[in-house]
Symmetry: C2
Subunit: 147 residues, 2 copies
Protein backbone atom coordinates (compact mmCIF):
# COMPACT_ATOMS: atom_id res chain seq x y z
CA UNK A 1 0.00 0.00 0.00
CA UNK A 2 1.16 3.51 -0.74
CA UNK A 3 1.74 5.72 2.29
CA UNK A 4 0.76 9.27 1.36
CA UNK A 5 1.96 10.68 4.68
CA UNK A 6 5.53 11.65 3.91
CA UNK A 7 7.44 14.64 5.22
CA UNK A 8 6.82 16.29 1.84
CA UNK A 9 3.08 15.75 2.21
CA UNK A 10 2.91 17.63 5.49
CA UNK A 11 5.40 20.29 4.40
CA UNK A 12 3.03 21.10 1.52
CA UNK A 13 0.36 21.83 4.13
CA UNK A 14 2.81 24.15 5.90
CA UNK A 15 3.55 25.82 2.54
CA UNK A 16 -0.19 26.40 2.06
CA UNK A 17 -0.14 28.23 5.38
CA UNK A 18 2.89 30.27 4.28
CA UNK A 19 0.99 31.32 1.17
CA UNK A 20 -1.87 32.53 3.35
CA UNK A 21 0.62 34.69 5.26
CA UNK A 22 1.94 36.08 1.94
CA UNK A 23 -1.60 37.05 0.88
CA UNK A 24 -1.94 39.06 4.11
CA UNK A 25 1.35 40.89 3.65
CA UNK A 26 3.04 38.86 6.38
CA UNK A 27 6.51 37.34 5.99
CA UNK A 28 5.45 34.01 4.47
CA UNK A 29 6.17 31.31 7.03
CA UNK A 30 3.71 28.50 7.73
CA UNK A 31 3.63 25.58 10.13
CA UNK A 32 1.60 22.50 11.03
CA UNK A 33 1.92 20.07 13.94
CA UNK A 34 1.16 16.42 13.27
CA UNK A 35 0.55 13.45 15.55
CA UNK A 36 -0.23 9.96 14.18
CA UNK A 37 -0.49 11.45 10.69
CA UNK A 38 -3.23 13.86 11.79
CA UNK A 39 -2.72 17.63 11.63
CA UNK A 40 -3.69 18.94 15.08
CA UNK A 41 -2.54 22.55 14.60
CA UNK A 42 -1.88 24.82 11.64
CA UNK A 43 -0.95 28.47 11.45
CA UNK A 44 1.10 31.12 9.73
CA UNK A 45 3.06 34.17 10.72
CA UNK A 46 0.81 36.98 12.01
CA UNK A 47 3.30 39.42 13.54
CA UNK A 48 2.05 42.38 11.50
CA UNK A 49 -1.67 41.76 11.87
CA UNK A 50 -1.39 41.14 15.61
CA UNK A 51 1.34 43.74 16.19
CA UNK A 52 3.16 41.08 18.18
CA UNK A 53 6.70 39.81 17.68
CA UNK A 54 5.73 36.55 19.40
CA UNK A 55 3.09 35.65 16.76
CA UNK A 56 5.36 33.41 14.69
CA UNK A 57 3.73 30.41 13.00
CA UNK A 58 5.56 27.97 15.29
CA UNK A 59 4.48 29.70 18.52
CA UNK A 60 0.85 29.64 17.49
CA UNK A 61 0.93 25.97 16.51
CA UNK A 62 2.67 25.00 19.79
CA UNK A 63 -0.07 26.73 21.78
CA UNK A 64 -2.84 25.25 19.59
CA UNK A 65 -1.42 21.71 19.67
CA UNK A 66 -1.07 21.75 23.47
CA UNK A 67 -4.64 22.99 23.69
CA UNK A 68 -5.82 20.14 21.43
CA UNK A 69 -3.85 17.53 23.38
CA UNK A 70 -4.83 18.89 26.79
CA UNK A 71 -1.21 18.88 27.96
CA UNK A 72 1.74 21.12 27.41
CA UNK A 73 4.27 18.53 26.22
CA UNK A 74 4.25 17.70 22.52
CA UNK A 75 5.54 14.14 22.78
CA UNK A 76 5.09 12.06 19.59
CA UNK A 77 4.39 15.28 17.68
CA UNK A 78 6.18 16.59 14.60
CA UNK A 79 6.37 20.26 13.65
CA UNK A 80 6.59 21.05 9.94
CA UNK A 81 7.69 24.62 9.31
CA UNK A 82 8.67 26.22 6.02
CA UNK A 83 11.60 28.23 7.46
CA UNK A 84 14.20 27.26 10.05
CA UNK A 85 12.91 28.39 13.47
CA UNK A 86 14.43 31.42 15.24
CA UNK A 87 15.85 31.52 18.80
CA UNK A 88 12.44 32.24 20.32
CA UNK A 89 10.64 29.42 18.52
CA UNK A 90 13.46 26.94 19.10
CA UNK A 91 13.39 27.95 22.78
CA UNK A 92 9.64 27.26 22.90
CA UNK A 93 10.19 23.92 21.12
CA UNK A 94 12.82 23.09 23.76
CA UNK A 95 10.23 23.49 26.53
CA UNK A 96 7.61 21.51 24.56
CA UNK A 97 9.91 18.45 24.30
CA UNK A 98 8.56 17.93 20.77
CA UNK A 99 9.72 14.67 19.15
CA UNK A 100 10.62 15.92 15.69
CA UNK A 101 11.12 19.17 13.80
CA UNK A 102 11.09 19.23 10.00
CA UNK A 103 12.00 22.52 8.40
CA UNK A 104 12.24 23.76 4.82
CA UNK A 105 14.54 26.67 4.00
CA UNK A 106 17.57 27.48 6.13
CA UNK A 107 17.68 30.92 7.79
CA UNK A 108 21.38 31.76 7.67
CA UNK A 109 20.90 35.06 9.48
CA UNK A 110 18.52 34.33 12.32
CA UNK A 111 18.00 30.56 12.31
CA UNK A 112 18.45 28.73 15.61
CA UNK A 113 21.24 26.50 14.32
CA UNK A 114 23.60 29.37 13.60
CA UNK A 115 22.45 31.21 16.74
CA UNK A 116 23.25 28.14 18.81
CA UNK A 117 19.85 27.72 20.47
CA UNK A 118 19.51 24.36 22.23
CA UNK A 119 16.68 21.94 21.51
CA UNK A 120 15.51 19.27 23.94
CA UNK A 121 17.65 16.10 23.84
CA UNK A 122 14.52 14.14 22.83
CA UNK A 123 14.02 16.20 19.65
CA UNK A 124 15.27 15.11 16.23
CA UNK A 125 15.62 17.52 13.28
CA UNK A 126 15.12 17.00 9.55
CA UNK A 127 16.35 19.84 7.32
CA UNK A 128 15.67 21.07 3.80
CA UNK A 129 12.28 19.46 3.00
CA UNK A 130 10.79 21.45 0.07
CA UNK A 131 13.40 24.08 0.87
CA UNK A 132 13.39 25.54 -2.65
CA UNK A 133 9.64 26.17 -2.59
CA UNK A 134 9.86 27.86 0.83
CA UNK A 135 12.88 29.97 -0.14
CA UNK A 136 11.26 30.98 -3.45
CA UNK A 137 8.15 32.20 -1.59
CA UNK A 138 10.31 34.30 0.75
CA UNK A 139 12.29 35.74 -2.17
CA UNK A 140 9.11 36.64 -4.02
CA UNK A 141 7.69 38.32 -0.90
CA UNK A 142 10.72 40.54 -0.32
CA UNK A 143 10.95 41.39 -4.04
CA UNK A 144 7.29 42.52 -3.98
CA UNK A 145 7.85 44.54 -0.82
CA UNK A 146 10.79 46.42 -2.29
CA UNK A 147 8.63 47.61 -5.21
Amino acid sequence: MINPFTDEYFMKKALNEAEMAFEKGEIPVGAVIVVNNIIIARSHNLTEMLNDVTAHAEMQTITAAANYLGGKYLKDCTLYVTLEPCQMCAGALYWSQISKIVYGATDLQRGFEKMGTQLHPKTTVVRGVLADEAAELMKRFFAERRK
Copy 2:
Protein backbone atom coordinates in the same frame (compact mmCIF):
# COMPACT_ATOMS: atom_id res chain seq x y z
CA MET B 1 13.13 65.70 45.18
CA ILE B 2 13.17 62.00 45.83
CA ASN B 3 12.70 59.79 42.79
CA PRO B 4 10.74 56.72 43.87
CA PHE B 5 11.07 55.05 40.46
CA THR B 6 14.20 52.99 40.91
CA ASP B 7 14.92 49.55 39.46
CA GLU B 8 14.15 48.13 42.93
CA TYR B 9 10.75 49.87 42.90
CA PHE B 10 9.65 48.18 39.69
CA MET B 11 11.27 44.85 40.58
CA LYS B 12 9.06 44.79 43.68
CA LYS B 13 6.06 45.00 41.37
CA ALA B 14 7.44 42.05 39.40
CA LEU B 15 7.93 40.18 42.70
CA ASN B 16 4.27 40.83 43.54
CA GLU B 17 3.41 39.11 40.26
CA ALA B 18 5.72 36.20 41.10
CA GLU B 19 3.88 35.77 44.40
CA MET B 20 0.59 35.57 42.52
CA ALA B 21 2.06 32.76 40.42
CA PHE B 22 3.18 30.97 43.61
CA GLU B 23 -0.36 31.15 45.03
CA LYS B 24 -1.65 29.41 41.88
CA GLY B 25 0.91 26.62 42.04
CA GLU B 26 2.89 28.06 39.14
CA ILE B 27 6.70 28.37 39.15
CA PRO B 28 6.91 31.84 40.73
CA VAL B 29 8.20 34.20 38.07
CA GLY B 30 6.72 37.65 37.55
CA ALA B 31 7.33 40.50 35.13
CA VAL B 32 6.32 44.08 34.39
CA ILE B 33 7.12 46.34 31.43
CA VAL B 34 7.65 50.02 32.10
CA VAL B 35 7.80 53.08 29.86
CA ASN B 36 8.30 56.60 31.22
CA ASN B 37 7.93 55.23 34.76
CA ILE B 38 4.49 53.83 33.97
CA ILE B 39 3.77 50.10 34.13
CA ILE B 40 2.09 49.22 30.82
CA ALA B 41 2.06 45.42 31.23
CA ARG B 42 2.25 43.00 34.14
CA SER B 43 1.96 39.25 34.32
CA HIS B 44 3.22 36.05 35.87
CA ASN B 45 4.00 32.56 34.74
CA LEU B 46 0.85 30.63 33.73
CA THR B 47 2.27 27.55 32.00
CA GLU B 48 0.33 25.10 34.20
CA MET B 49 -3.00 26.88 34.17
CA LEU B 50 -2.91 27.46 30.42
CA ASN B 51 -1.22 24.12 29.61
CA ASP B 52 1.16 26.09 27.43
CA VAL B 53 4.95 26.17 27.56
CA THR B 54 4.91 29.59 25.88
CA ALA B 55 2.96 31.24 28.74
CA HIS B 56 6.03 32.60 30.54
CA ALA B 57 5.62 35.94 32.34
CA GLU B 58 7.89 37.70 29.85
CA MET B 59 6.01 36.46 26.77
CA GLN B 60 2.70 37.67 28.13
CA THR B 61 4.06 41.10 29.05
CA ILE B 62 5.70 41.50 25.62
CA THR B 63 2.34 40.79 23.92
CA ALA B 64 0.43 43.04 26.34
CA ALA B 65 2.90 45.94 26.07
CA ALA B 66 2.84 45.86 22.26
CA ASN B 67 -0.94 45.82 22.40
CA TYR B 68 -0.92 48.86 24.72
CA LEU B 69 1.58 50.73 22.54
CA GLY B 70 -0.11 49.81 19.26
CA GLY B 71 3.18 48.69 17.75
CA LYS B 72 5.32 45.60 18.04
CA TYR B 73 8.65 47.23 18.94
CA LEU B 74 9.25 47.97 22.61
CA LYS B 75 11.56 50.93 22.16
CA ASP B 76 12.12 52.98 25.35
CA CYS B 77 10.63 50.12 27.37
CA THR B 78 12.20 48.26 30.28
CA LEU B 79 11.29 44.71 31.26
CA TYR B 80 11.61 43.82 34.95
CA VAL B 81 11.56 40.08 35.54
CA THR B 82 12.29 38.21 38.75
CA LEU B 83 14.26 35.38 37.06
CA GLU B 84 16.76 35.53 34.20
CA PRO B 85 14.86 34.92 30.93
CA CYS B 86 15.15 31.59 29.09
CA GLN B 87 16.11 31.10 25.41
CA MET B 88 12.51 31.53 24.25
CA CYS B 89 11.90 34.76 26.16
CA ALA B 90 15.30 36.20 25.27
CA GLY B 91 14.54 35.34 21.63
CA ALA B 92 11.22 37.20 21.87
CA LEU B 93 12.99 40.15 23.51
CA TYR B 94 15.47 40.14 20.63
CA TRP B 95 12.63 40.62 18.14
CA SER B 96 11.01 43.31 20.32
CA GLN B 97 14.16 45.48 20.31
CA ILE B 98 13.41 46.34 23.94
CA SER B 99 15.69 49.03 25.39
CA LYS B 100 16.49 47.49 28.76
CA ILE B 101 16.10 44.22 30.63
CA VAL B 102 16.43 44.13 34.42
CA TYR B 103 16.39 40.68 35.98
CA GLY B 104 16.56 39.37 39.53
CA ALA B 105 17.87 35.87 40.18
CA THR B 106 20.25 34.15 37.78
CA ASP B 107 19.11 30.88 36.17
CA LEU B 108 22.32 28.92 35.94
CA GLN B 109 20.64 25.97 34.22
CA ARG B 110 18.36 27.49 31.62
CA GLY B 111 19.08 31.21 31.63
CA PHE B 112 19.76 32.86 28.28
CA GLU B 113 23.22 34.06 29.25
CA LYS B 114 24.61 30.55 29.78
CA MET B 115 22.62 29.24 26.80
CA GLY B 116 24.17 31.94 24.61
CA THR B 117 20.93 33.45 23.29
CA GLN B 118 21.51 36.75 21.51
CA LEU B 119 19.70 39.94 22.46
CA HIS B 120 19.20 42.89 20.12
CA PRO B 121 22.25 45.21 19.96
CA LYS B 122 20.01 48.05 21.24
CA THR B 123 19.21 46.20 24.48
CA THR B 124 21.07 46.77 27.75
CA VAL B 125 20.92 44.33 30.67
CA VAL B 126 20.98 44.93 34.45
CA ARG B 127 21.45 41.82 36.59
CA GLY B 128 20.74 40.81 40.17
CA VAL B 129 18.16 43.40 41.28
CA LEU B 130 16.41 41.95 44.38
CA ALA B 131 17.93 38.64 43.37
CA ASP B 132 17.80 37.19 46.90
CA GLU B 133 14.05 37.80 47.20
CA ALA B 134 13.38 36.18 43.81
CA ALA B 135 15.65 33.20 44.52
CA GLU B 136 14.12 32.71 47.99
CA LEU B 137 10.62 32.58 46.46
CA MET B 138 11.73 29.93 43.95
CA LYS B 139 13.45 27.89 46.70
CA ARG B 140 10.34 28.02 48.87
CA PHE B 141 8.16 26.95 45.92
CA PHE B 142 10.24 23.88 45.08
CA ALA B 143 10.55 22.95 48.78
CA GLU B 144 6.74 23.06 49.09
CA ARG B 145 6.30 21.02 45.93
CA ARG B 146 8.61 18.27 47.14
CA LYS B 147 6.49 17.77 50.26
